[in-house]
Amino acid sequence: MNHDDPLAPLFAKARDAGPHDTASQQFGFETRLSARLRQREKTSELLVLWPWRLLPVFAVLTLMLTWGFWQQQETNLDLQSAVEEYSEEWAYVEALSGRYL
């Protein structure tokens, strides 16, 4: 400790006061600690169980996505054929009307 330090006497006096009196707060501490440990255990158990509980949701979601993807493919094919059909028709009209040339 540096004795030339102007704060040294203040620190020395503060040290004399000792630590705060926490006797009243220590009362029943073991019970509270025990309860908190149990609570933590319950929470960690829940965290482990959640993915399993959500398994049906994941399964339904996968099925819906697969069905949605399949539907999209169908729609795309329909659209593609419609476009192709229209293009052909348009080409005939253009050729017959002479505008094609």
Binding site: D5, L10, F11, K13, R15, T22, L33, S34, L37
Partner: protein, 193 residues
Amino acid sequence: MWRAPMATISLDLGAHLSSMPDETTLHLARNGDETAFGHLVAQHKGRVFALVARFAREAHQIDDLAQEVFIRAWQRLGQYREEAPFEHWLSRIAVHACYDFLRRQRRWSLFRSVPIESVDLPDTDRASALEAREVVEKALARLKPKERLVLTLFELEGHSVREIAALTGWSEANVKTRASRARAELKKILLSS
């Protein structure tokens, strides 16, 4: 890997343990004996409370922090190698928990406007020890977590540089640098008011 059987913990103090030496209690606690751990808690809670009360002011914060220390100890009991006394091992956990608490407080204070308490340097000869402690703690609260931790351990808890290095895991040179920086900052706070 050792895992604390938390679901079955019951911190009753067994009368048969009260006369047991610390090593036996420790051995039992490490093997998952909740009663033995309860005995360790009862034996060391005073020291832990005294330390955490240096950093937390509100009663609920002190209680939460003390609980955090013992929860960490319970979870890490399997890692305790008995190379150092249990009290030292627990103190290291307590110091780290306090440091984490200070950092959380600091982060939290960035999101809300915390009024800065003015600190007046009292007349050291006339001020009582409690007044002096109050002033020092108020001034320390305005320092950065690392600075506050090192100065509290050094000036109020009376630890040496080597002990602080062992408690915090910082090098001795680092502890000295931080202590001197913290002291300069504290001087600025106290002498400017």
